[in-house]
Each structure stands twice: as C-alpha cells, then as structure tokens.
C-alpha cells in the first residue's frame, strides 16, 4: 500500500463525488445530472420510439385502451367512469407531472420548498397561505369528498397519478426535477382542490380595493366611479341590451354610517401586495345558431386567454365510457374535460372578471392576535401556525389569524407598514365550500340545455361565462358563479371589520345570474361587463370592453357562416379600440410642433389599416404613442405620495377624452402651466420618439419584434432553451389577443352537425418533456392561424393509420 497516493486520490475521489452529487446554486448536481444512466440523458427519449405499452394495476375494474394519435392526443376507451378517470390521472402524470406539482406547490404556498431561499418566494408563499388558498382548498375538498360521485372520480384520478409516480425511478423522473434536484411526492385529492384554487386565483383573484383605499385623499368615490366606469358608453354587453331583468331577490342595505366610516374615512395604511394575477387573463367565446350558418348547424367557438407556457396549461384528450363520450382540453391536475364537446352539445368558457374579493379592517385586542373586536365583544381568532419549508434555508413559521370575515392576510407580522393592532382580512368566494368537479362531471355528460344548466348552476368560483350550443339547434350563455349581492359601493374600498354591518348580506340568486337562451342569432362574451345598467345589482369587475364590440360587430353582419369564417374571426387582428383612439390622437396632435420624424410617425398612424399584424410598424408607433399618452395623463396624479395605483383603463381614457377633452386630469399638476389635451397628446408623441427611433434603427419597429412574444417554460428565465419566441401580432384588446406572454391558450371551433366537425389548436404540445418532438409541435400551426381537425374517434377505428401507439391498461 502506498499511503500518500492513496490518501490523495481517495480524498479527490470522495470530494469529486460529493461535489458532483450536490446542487450548487442554480447548477444541478453535475455528476448525477450528466450520468447517461441516471441524468438528463435518460430523458432524451427516442424520437421514433415504440409507443405501445401494456400496463396493469390493481385499482382497475376492467380493460382500458388508450389510442395515441399522430398528435399524441389520447383517445381513452374505458368500460366504466372510474377506470377512465384513473387513466386520465395516469396520462396527466405521464406527460405533465412536473407542471401538475409546481402549480399545486404554488397554490399551497410551497415554492420556497423547491425553488429556494429567496425573500420573493417566501413572501409569495406567505401571501398565498394568508389569502386562504389552502383554507379554500380544504373547503373544496370537503365538498368533493362529501358527494359520492365526485369522491369516486377524484379518488380514481388520484390513484392514476400515483400509479404513474410510483413507477418512476431516479432515471425516469422528468428532467425539470433533475435540474432542480428534487423528487415528486404523492398526489392527493387535496391537490386537485389546490389546483382549482390556483385557477380561482388566476381568474377571480384580481381586485383593486387596497389601491382604491389609498387613492381616497385624491379621488372621491364619485371620481372613482367615473374613472372605473361601470357601464362604458360603447359597451356591448354579453346579455343583449334590452333584456328585461327580474326584480332582485336580494336587496342589500347600505349601513347608515357608511358615508363617515367608509366612503370618507381616510386613515388607512399601505401594505405591499406580493402577487397579483394578470388582469388581462381574458377570453373570447361565442355561439352562432344554425339560422346563421351555411350548414344549418350551430357553431361554437372559444379561445381562453391565459399565460402562454411550456408545458401548456391544457392537455387535449377524448374520454369514452358507456356513460360519456367527450372530447376537449383538460387541466393536468384535475379530472374531467374543461372545454369541449360530446355527442350532443359543445361548451366553452370565458372569465366573468367579476370582483369577488373584499377586504376588512380588523382591530386586534393586542399583539397576540388572539382576540379581535366583533359586534362589541372581544372575539377569539382561530390561530393557525403554518410551516413553510425553505430549500437551503431555515423553516419559516407563520401564524395566520382566521376571523369571521376570513383569514387575516396583512398584519404587523407580515406588513411592517401596519401599526400594531390593525390588520386586514380577506373575504373571497374562493374560500367557500363548492364542488366544481361535480359541475364539470355533469357538464361533460350533458345532452341538452336543461342538463347543461343543471350541471353549471352549482359552479361557484371562478365565475365563468359558459357558452353552449346543441345539436338541437339552440344556443345559450350563462354568467355563472357565486357573486355577492353588494350595496352600491360595497367593497370598492377596505371596509370596517369591527362588526357585522359591512359583511356581505347575501349572494345574487343563481337564477338571476345574467343569461340568455336563443334559437336564432348569436351570443358572445369577451370579458366585458355582462349586462347593461338595468341589471339590478352593483357588480364591479375588471371588465374589458373592446373585444366584445369587435366580435358582435362581425357576427351581427355575418350570414351563412362557415368554419373557415370562424377560423378567420378567431385570428382577427383588427383593433376596434384603435379606431377611436387613433381619432383622438390625430385630432389633437399639433403637427407643426413636431420634428420631421414626428411628422413621419403621425403619417404612419394616419395611414395604418388598424390591423395589429406582425409586420405592421404603424401598430408599434400607435401603441407606443398611446401608452405614452396614458403616462402623460395619469402619472402625475396616480404616482404621488405613497400612492401607486394602476392607471384607469384605456377605455376610460378614450371615453373621457371623447366626452370632455378638458377633463380635470389632463393638466399635469407638477407644472405651473395649464396643459390642454393638444399639449398632452403632442408631448406624448414627442416623449415616444426617441424609443421609436431607436427601435427603427435596430430594425425592431415591426409589431411582433417590438412586443417580442415569448412562450416561456414554467421555470421562466432560468431555462431559456426550453422557451420559444413566436412571430405573431395581436393585442389584448383585439380578438387575436396575443400580448408578449399572454394569449389564446386554446382555439376551438365546433360545428354541431351530424357528425360533429371540430377544430382546435394550442401553442404547445402534448408532451411536457422538452426532449420530445411533441413538446412544441403545435406552436407553428397556432402562430399562423392553422387548426387541427379534432378526431372524435370511435372505438372501431382502432386500426386507423393515425394511431401511433396503444396503451392497454388491465387489472392486475
């Protein structure tokens, strides 16, 4: 034995193995990661590998055949519902496990546990838990599990996910786990509930109550209502104007002291809100009756706008059992089809945009937070200690106080700005017990309008516009959700939470939710306010007006509609909003004050065809100018003192200028001069010129280059090689609503003829593995407005040449 060489080489070997087996910051454990037998190489699947498998599980009752078509869409044929949901869970996990887990970790406030010790992650996690995401999921779980049908499907789905997870080895776990160096954990029904709460946060988690409260010193309630316009002049509501609404079943009463204690009270503190959902999470859907189509069959269209990600939020599939035959897109993380069609009906959803969150100011007795004032008594809180694990850091313990209003989100322990005994609790419909899975289960099986209505009427949160069309020829829409019945102004600001007088007094009765059921004409929704001013309730929301106008304008003029017409409409780039906005820009700009470049830019806008096409340079000039105008009008008032308010919407600005071009916010309060609208619009362009010139020099003035749309992987900038740049036009206020990171996450067109003819596409691919050719194979078709014919397969077509693999599941 040679001691010195041994010691040296042994130490080097052990040190190497240790160092290469450990994650260093963002760098994965190199040895483990690069090992061809365990590491990422094992995820580099064979491009043309065999996709046939025989699998057996003890949970199954019978045989299930899954036919994978040439786009890797599974067509599941099962002998009973539970087997079908078991296989749905298995397939979701097989192709999308990392995404399912990450989304539920985010929902549960557990991202620090896997992404690391970063104050942003810890604050995110704390805010998620404090806003009642876990609490809401616990309540949803109670609802799922108290109903025998939804319990069975959730149990089967969860068993399917876990069967896949249990089959994984060190080498076969998805590559993202290897990069981040953690392992999947068991799935549960609770995670299904968490997933749905994450959707509620995305779609029904936006409000401006706290910012509105901060704006009180500068803006009166009347000012705010004018700015945050409830019924814009140009509104084309979802429910056609002129519809007569029943008198309200619930009449909420404003507290007598509301003027002094609520509307005019101004001593409220500022808190930091860490994660707010994107208010542009919108969507389009519409249905045209057979009387307007060429074939005489109704056509239903839907394109939900969400963040565009890899993997996509959607996973396409067909599920067939003796009791259902349904095709559409599913959420990995939840059983059932979310948007799709069956043998008899088709349905689609857009977001209701309604405000279903209100904040209450709580008075704790002391710093222990054990008691709070309620109806004249010190009342005990329910204190819950949350444990937040932190990767590479100390565990964080957070105590959350639950009150009759809901969980206390912001208090001294989370928001240093708050004084000792003050706190802010959140009331949110997503906290309430409700069974969305049962609604979806029934909707997947609905045969006609009555069954559709029966299915959706218990759907609570997030509120959605469920559009419907059936083979019988009728079309319908319901804005369905559980919506508080508010007195005028209730919940616009933080409300007093020392007694019951400001609590919600009830909910709008389900049958009074906005709806229409027709056998001619068309119905459409695009996140606009659902009803005109005759609807008898105060229904604030972050509504978007322009797309609804565009869709209604086209559909009302169209006759003999074909599927190709609908494809063109979903991909329409025309900006209705810019019609009006350009008019005011050109009307008020003082061209004589502009440089040669300025004059040239004005001419580009003047000659623009108002289409936000990818190559349009005028779109970039217009949008940059208009954005600059918004800053010019609002920034002086909206960014002062401690106030950081989102600007009023572009629709508000346009309508104010049209009504009164000398309205009070035009003047810049930071200058001694009194600006006119001409000054502000001209100055807005002048301020935009340097940026426009620079983009022009760099060759980035074309709209698609300017906005630079990108589909990121869920791990964002950390894994740019997994992202894709896309060359597409559009904007959030045009029908083809692609912004830089958001857009139509699924486009679907269903003609309810016999047989059904359906088309669809989403910007992604069925397989979440970046190594797969099915990772991003739909992107180009989506970006160029192409569709795939959706194959509503029959089981006797199992020899079809489109099938590239068959998974056979049997009972073991």
């Amino acid at each position: 034995m040679r001691t010195i060489p041994f010691v040296i080489s042994a130490i080097i070997t052990i040190a190497l193995v240790f160092a290469l087996n450990k994650k260093w910051g963002p760098i994965p454990p190199i040895g483990k990661f690069l090992s061809p037998q365990q590491g990422f190489w094992q995820n580099a699947e064979s491009i043309d590998g065999n996709r046939n498998e025989n699998l057996s599980f003890k949970n199954l009752k019978g045989k299930v055949s899954v036919y994978l078509d040439e786009r890797l869409v599974p067509h599941v044929f099962a002998q009973n519902n539970e087997d079908a949901y078991f296989v749905q869970g298995y397939l979701h996990a097989k192709y999308r496990l990392f995404q399912m887990e990450l989304q539920t970790y985010a929902a549960a406030g557990r991202i620090s546990e896997h992404l690391g010790n970063d104050p942003r992650f810890i604050n995110f996690d704390r805010e998620q838990r404090r806003s009642g995401m876990v609490y809401g999921a616990e309540n949803a779980l109670k609802a799922f599990e108290s109903d025998p049908v939804s319990k069975k499907i959730c149990d089967a789905y969860t068993a399917g996910v876990n069967s896949y997870i249990n089959s994984l080895t060190e080498s076969s776990i998805p590559v993202e786990y290897k990069i981040l160096d953690y392992r999947p954990e068991p799935w549960s029904n609770f995670k299904i509930a968490l997933f749905l709460k994450q959707m509620s946060k995305t779609l029904a988690g936006y409000d401006q109550d706290l910012q509105h409260t901060l704006s009180k010193p500068n803006l009166s309630f009347d000012d705010l209502m004018q700015l945050d316009e409830q019924v814009p002049d140009s509104l084309v509501p979802i429910i056609p104007k002129g519809t007569v609404f029943e008198s309200p079943g619930v009449t909420p009463v404003k507290p007598a002291n509301a003027d002094s204690l609520y509307f005019e009270k101004k001593d409220t503190a500022k808190v930091v809100e860490y994660s707010k959902p994107n208010p542009n999470n919108g969507s389009n859907n519409w249905a045209v009756s057979g009387k307007k189509t060429k074939t005489g069959a109704p056509i239903l269209c839907n394109d939900p706008h969400l963040e565009l990600t890899f993997p996509s939020v959607w996973y396409e599939m067909q599920i067939t059992t003796p009791n259902v035959n349904v095709y559409g897109v599913t959420f990995p993380g939840s059983p059932n089809v979310i948007i799709g069609f069956n043998d008899n009906i088709a349905w689609g959803v857009t977001n209701a945009q309604r405000d279903v969150r209100d904040y209450y100011e709580i008075q704790f007795k002391d710093e222990s937070r054990k008691e709070y004032m309620y109806n004249g008594n010190w009342t005990p809180t329910d204190l819950k200690i949350d444990t937040i694990k932190v990767k590479g850091g100390a565990t964080v313990y957070d105590t959350i106080a639950f009150t009759v209003f809901g969980p206390v989100v912001y208090d001294r322990t989370f928001s240093k700005q708050l004084s000792n005994n003050k706190a802010i609790a959140l009331r949110w419909t997503a906290h309430d017990e409700s069974n969305e899975e049962l609604s979806l289960y029934k909707l997947n099986r609905a045969k006609n309008y009555d069954e559709y209505l029966e299915a959706i009427k218990s759907f609570s949160c997030p509120g959605q516009n469920f559009v419907f069309a059936s083979k019988q020829g009728d079309i319908a829409i319901w804005q369905q959700g559980k919506f508080p019945a508010r007195w005028y102004g209730q919940g616009t600001y933080l409300m007093p939470g020392i007694d019951s007088s400001y609590q919600w007094q009830g909910f709008i009765p389900q049958n009074e939710n906005p709806h229409a059921h027709l056998d001619s004409g068309f119905l459409e929704s695009a996140n606009q306010r659902p009803v005109d001013s005759t609807y008898p309730y105060f229904i604030p929301g972050n509504y978007i007006t322009a797309r609804g106008i565009s869709i209604a304008r086209h559909l009302s003029q169209m006759e003999s509609i074909t599927i190709d017409d609908m494809k063109a409409l979903q991909n329409n780039y025309y900006s209705v909003f810019a019609e009006g906005a350009r008019n005011i820009l050109l009307k008020y700009v003082n061209e004589n004050a502009l440089s040669a470049d300025g004059k040239r830019f004005v001419n580009m806008v003047r000659n623009w065809d108002l289409n936000t096409t990818p190559n349009s340079t005028a779109t970039t000039v217009y949008q940059t100018w208009f954005d600059s105008l918004e800053v010019g009008i609002w920034r002086d008032e909206w960014r002062r003192d401690s106030l950081v308010m989102p600007f009023p919407t572009e629709q508000t600005l346009l309508e104010w200028i049209n009504k009164d071009s000398a309205f009070k916010y035009v003047d810049n309060i930071n200058t001694p001069e009194k600006e006119t609208i001409n000054d502000v619009i001209t100055q807005a362009l002048q301020n935009a010129i340097p940026e426009l010139k620079e983009e022009e020099t760099e060759g980035k003035l074309e709209w698609a280059k300017h906005k630079d749309p990108t589909i990121f992987h869920l791990l964002k900038e950390g894994v740019m090689p997994f992202a894709r740049k896309i060359h597409v036009g559009g904007w959030s206020n045009v029908i083809n609503a692609v912004t830089d990171t958001h857009g139509p996450s699924w486009r679907m067109i269903v003609q309810l003829s016999d047989p059904i003819e359906a088309y669809g596409v989403y910007p992604g691919g069925q397989d979440g593995n970046p190594a797969s050719k099915f990772y991003d194979n739909f992107v180009d078709a989506w970006a160029t407005g192409q569709y795939y014919r959706l194959w509503f397969m029959k089981e006797n077509e199992s020899k079809d040449k489109r099938i590239i693999g068959t998974l056979t599941f049997t009972n073991s």
């Binding site: 060489p5 041994f6 080489s9 070997t13 580099a44 190594a771 050719k773």
Partner: protein, 119 residues
C-alpha cells in the same frame, strides 16, 4: 493486456452497476477493478479514466443519436456550451472519466507494493 482488461471491466461492470445503483457506483467499480488488477498507479488511473470516459461517451452518443440531439442541444445552451451536443457529450465523458480515474488510482494505491519495482 492488463490495461485493456481493466478498461473493459471498468466499463462493463460500471454499465451494469449503473442500471441499478446511483451514478457514483462508477467510482466503486473503478476502485475495485484497480484493486484486483495489478497495474502501475498511472496505468490504473488511465484505465479507470478511459473505461468510464468511453462508457459515458458511447452511451451519450447512442442516446443522443436516437433523440436527434434535441435535448442535448438545449442542455448545452443551458450550460453555456453554445448549444453544442458534441461538447456536452465530451464534458459528460470527462466528468465520468475523472471520477473513474481517481477512484481507480485509489484502488491501485491500496495494492501491496511489488518487490523491486518503483512506484
């Protein structure tokens, strides 16, 4: 001859161990092979290094060919290797080779010193 034998044994047993055990089983294999097959320390290092280097290189090349370089290209970008699959295969093999080499060196230096031969 011993060199070739040691190299082949390291690669073959390393492969078999890798089917079941953690990635660092290559170190154990290279160590044991070097302990059993008498060679100078330098030659042991080299046979251990090359055994694992070749094993990992060949496996990576084979997997990569079937995957059309899709994933390796992206991982090579992630690792700032200019998206080069070839370079990533080389780095993979080098990492494995170094572990194999030093482990073999340790194994070899545990052997009794042969009489009349210098280290």
């Amino acid at each position: 001859m011993r060199f070739i034998l040691a190299l082949l044994l390291t690669a073959t047993i390393g492969f078999l161990a890798g089917l079941r055990l953690e990635w660092w089983s290559i170190a154990l294999v290279a160590f044991l092979v070097a302990l059993l097959i008498p060679q100078t320390i330098a030659r042991s290092f080299l046979s251990g290094f090359l055994g694992i280097f070749l094993l990992w290189a060949l496996l990576a090349i084979w997997i990569n060919a079937k995957n059309d370089s899709t994933l390796s290209h992206e991982i090579a970008e992630l690792f700032k290797l200019g998206g080069s699959s070839i370079l990533l295969i080389f780095v993979t093999a080098l990492i494995g080779g170094l572990v194999g080499g030093f482990a073999a060196m340790a194994g070899s230096s545990l052997r009794p010193v042969p009489k009349g031969r210098r280290i």
